[in-house]
């Protein structure tokens, strides 16, 4: 990961408010700094405001309140064509009446670059995305992946200060999506340009980003490097949105230092890290990743929970157990054991986890993840 601490932010959002009807806030008092050369992913479910923020940065949407700064200068009311940002859309938005080369040359033409230079730079951009021999094709003659590459070339060819990508891989199939993730990552390393990437696909966010900002209901819940987001979620929403999580809901019965004990609905007690400073009597929810859930035939420690294997699913590189745990719902565990060593369905087991792997967060509710 890059060392970004001492560089000034290239993009700053300060107290951004956005509403269409005056009642519902799409974005609410949102602050976000993006560092020069950083790959930031805005991750969240649809309607969480992440795309809106990107469109505000691109200049297609006006803010209702707050300000956007680029290199310290106010961007509000600067029209899109004067912002010098490259935007890649989910639907590619290639111009169907122009060849691939004309599409890539388009932004250079708009900037009055001399003809010879246009040709050279367009050629180089096509080369970077391995589409050199497709220059004369029309966009409709290309596959989805090829079209997205051309859109990418068109967005980088004029060396914009920031490249904005709005779910650029959403329309591609899984294999191609994973390949393109790596290509975009390489491109980012080669160019060193700041990239703001919007997606609702958490694995995409984990693979590509320097930092991930998790959005919900117009707010950023947590922002940090992928490992931090995955391993140390700061609320139930983030824990559940990124990766798989087992939720154990209950009431705090004891608290000491940064640990606390939770009593579940059926009276069983479990312990974990007290992340949000919950106090005795508070409702809370403990999040445990499936890969941290250990299964034993014997009760090896006092806080192990009794469970029953209800399903064994073979995934090739790992096995997934579906467990019936009194007092909790939909508990799963991951095991790297071979299939021949797998526990049979109906097996009675005890589950437990290391104290620091259980994170006591806010309680799950209908409005899931409200911090």
């Amino acid at each position: 990961m890059r060392d970004l601490a001492d560089t000034a932010p290239i993009v700053q959002f300060r107290g951004i408010d956005k509403t269409y009807d005056g009642d519902v806030n799409i974005l609410e008092k949102l602050d976000l700094d993006i560092q020069q050369g950083e790959f930031v992913t805005l991750l969240g479910p649809s309607g969480s405001g992440k795309s809106t923020l990107l469109m505000i940065l691109a200049g297609f949407e006006e803010v209702t309140g707050g300000e956007v700064l680029l290199n310290g200068e106010r961007l509000n009311n600067v029209p899109p064509h004067k912002r010098n940002m490259g935007v890649v859309f989910q639907s590619y938005a290639l111009f169907p009446h122009m060849s691939v080369r004309q599409n890539v040359a388009y932004p250079l033409k708009q900037r009055g670059v001399p003809k010879a230079e246009i040709d050279a730079r367009a050629e180089k951009a096509l080369d970077m995305i391995h589409m050199k021999e497709f220059g004369e094709r029309m966009p409709t003659q290309l596959s989805g992946g090829q079209q997205q590459r051309v859109a990418l070339a068109r967005a980088i060819v004029y060396q914009p200060e920031v490249i904005l990508m709005d779910e650029p891989l959403g329309a591609l199939d899984k294999k191609l999506r994973e390949k393109m993730q790596i290509e975009i990552k390489h491109l980012h390393e080669q160019l060193g340009t700041t990239i703001v990437f919007v997606t609702h696909d958490q694995s995409e966010a984990l693979t590509m980003s320097d930092r991930i900002a998790v959005f919900n209901d117009g707010k950023i819940l947590q922002i940090g490097p992928p490992s931090e987001i995955y391993e140390a979620p700061n609320c139930s929403f983030v824990a559940n949105f990124i990766g798989e999580t087992n939720n154990f809901s209950g009431q705090v019965t004891a608290q000491s230092g940064d640990a606390c004990t939770l009593r579940m609905a059926n009276g069983a007690e479990i312990s974990g890290q007290n992340i949000l400073g919950a106090r005795v009597g508070d409702a809370a929810c403990m999040a445990v990743r499936p890969e941290h859930v250990k299964l034993d035939l014997e009760q090896v420690c006092s806080h192990a929970l009794k469970a029953k294997v209800t399903g064994v699913i073979y995934h090739g590189d790992h096995i997934r157990y579906e467990l019936d745990v009194p007092g909790a719902r939909d508990v799963t565990a991951r095991s790297n054991a071979h299939m021949q060593d797998a526990l049979p369905e109906g097996q009675e087991v005890y589950i437990h986890w290391d104290m620091d792997k259980g994170r006591v967060l806010d309680p799950l509710s209908g409005a899931e993840g409200a911090a």
């Binding site: 691109a58 200049g59 297609f60 029209p79 899109p80 064509h81 912002r83 010098n84 940002m85 490259g86 935007v87 859309f89 639907s91 938005a93 111009f95 169907p96 009446h97 388009y106 932004p107 708009q110 900037r111 068109r154 967005a155 004029y158 904005l164």
Partner: protein, 415 residues
């Protein structure tokens, strides 16, 4: 055993050939089926549409009148060299034909036909025919005695030309050309060159109406195609509503609006903008207004359909790539709207070329188009040759316009 045989036939070239021939056979069957399906329509078109048009157009070059009314003369004069006056036999044939034709009342038609070629010929024929049965040999002297024009060689040349079954007369005339005495094609004197004006006027009015429709229709179609409000349907409905009313009624409505004591003049006087009523009817202005009103939907519909398929996102994309809003529209949106635009423009132009009712009702004498000529000749004058020639000219103008449109816009991969 059978497995080996299959393997053998699968390898080598033999299966490839049979595959190709199979494909061809399948293709041929498909084409035959297709042909069978469109056969009724093709027959219908041929009988109802193509044959009558060909038959009508044939009138433009056919010239049966003289040959039918004066058969002996037509036969006798066929081989005349046109240098000296015809021989006695030809005079005799004409005298006999005229005498018979006068009796059978068929000479008048031939006289009218001859009069198209040389004015005064009709009276010459009628005058001679009245006394033809009294004529005695030598017929040459007798006829010249009756009217000395029979001694002038040019009348015989015109007669010889008119007696042929086919004639270029009408086609030349509608192009403001004629054959002189020697048969060479020359322009008619300027004061008699009136027909080409109808053609250029038709082209000019059609082009103007097309351009005006484009200027008015493009923004309407754009708004209707891209607005998110219900106003789009309302606007579209307003454009399409006139479709439900006949052209005649719509045009008559414009007469009510535009006449001297009409609504528009009343309104303008009422708000004090003018003191005297304006002449709004029976001029080019009225023709344009009424034609645009009738033809606008033909432009808006294809354009609207086309525009709905153009993503607005393209304009945003162009903007993010550095294009100003106008430039984004011009380089990204407009080219994508060309297929609809050219289809609509072609439709409007070609429909406008053949317009008759609207200019006839709200236009002045100087605003009439080619169809007016056709109607005049066919229904008022009864000269079917000229009517057919004018119709032919209209057809050719239409086909040429279509070809030009295709050349200009089709070459870019549209249409």
């Amino acid at each position: 055993m059978s497995i080996t045989a299959e393997f053998e036939s699968d390898s080598g070239r033999a299966p490839e050939v049979s595959l190709k021939s199979k494909l061809r056979r399948a293709e041929r069957q498909r084409q035959l089926k297709g042909l069978g399906l469109v056969a009724p329509l093709l027959t219908f078109l041929l009988v109802i549409f193509v044959l009558p048009i060909v038959a009508i157009l044939f009138f433009a070059v056919s010239s049966p009148e003289v040959g039918e009314a004066l058969p002996r003369t037509a036969e006798a004069i066929k081989s005349w060299d046109g240098k000296d006056l015809p021989d006695e036999a030809t005079y005799r044939a004409l005298a006999e034909d005229l005498a018979e034709g006068y009796e059978a009342k068929t000479v008048a038609g031939a006289g009218t036909r001859l009069n198209y070629q040389a004015s005064g010929f009709r009276s010459l024929i009628m005058r001679t025919a009245r006394k033809a049965d009294e004529m005695q040999a030598p017929f040459k002297a007798a006829m010249i005695d009756r009217d000395e024009r029979w001694g002038e060689i040019q009348y015989w040349r015109e007669l010889q030309r008119a007696a042929r079954p086919l004639t270029p007369l009408y086609v030349l005339q509608v192009l403001d050309l004629k054959q002189d005495e020697t048969g060479a094609i020359v322009s008619v004197p300027e004061n008699r060159a009136i027909y080409l004006d109808y053609l250029t006027r038709s082209l000019w009015i059609s082009a103007s109406v097309t351009v005006l429709c484009l200027l008015i229709g493009y923004p309407i179609a754009y708004f209707a195609a891209h607005t998110t409000s219900n106003w789009g349907y309302l606007v579209l409905g307003a454009v399409l509503l006139p479709f439900w009313i006949s052209v005649l009624v719509r045009t008559a409505a414009w007469m009510v609006v535009l006449q001297r004591e009409g609504m528009l003049n009343d309104l303008l006087i009422g708000i004090g903008l003018i003191g005297e009523p304006l002449q709004l009817l029976f001029n080019r202005f009225a023709v344009y207004i009424a034609m645009i009103h009738v033809l606008l939907p033909f432009l808006v519909m294809p354009l609207y359909n086309n525009m709905r398929t153009i993503p607005q996102l393209h304009l945003k994309a162009a903007g993010s790539l550095g294009a100003t809003p106008f430039w984004a529209f011009w380089t990204v949106y407009f080219p994508q709207s060309l297929p609809g635009l050219s289809a609509g423009a072609l439709l409007v132009f070609i429909l406008a070329l053949g317009y008759y009712i609207t200019p006839a009702l709200v236009g002045g004498p100087g605003d009439q188009m080619l169809s007016f000529l056709v109607t005049q000749f066919a229904l008022e004058i009864g000269n079917w040759g000229m009517a057919a020639a004018a119709a032919g000219l209209l057809l050719v103008a239409t086909l040429v316009s279509y070809a030009v449109f295709r050349l200009c816009l089709g070459a870019r991969g549209f249409m």
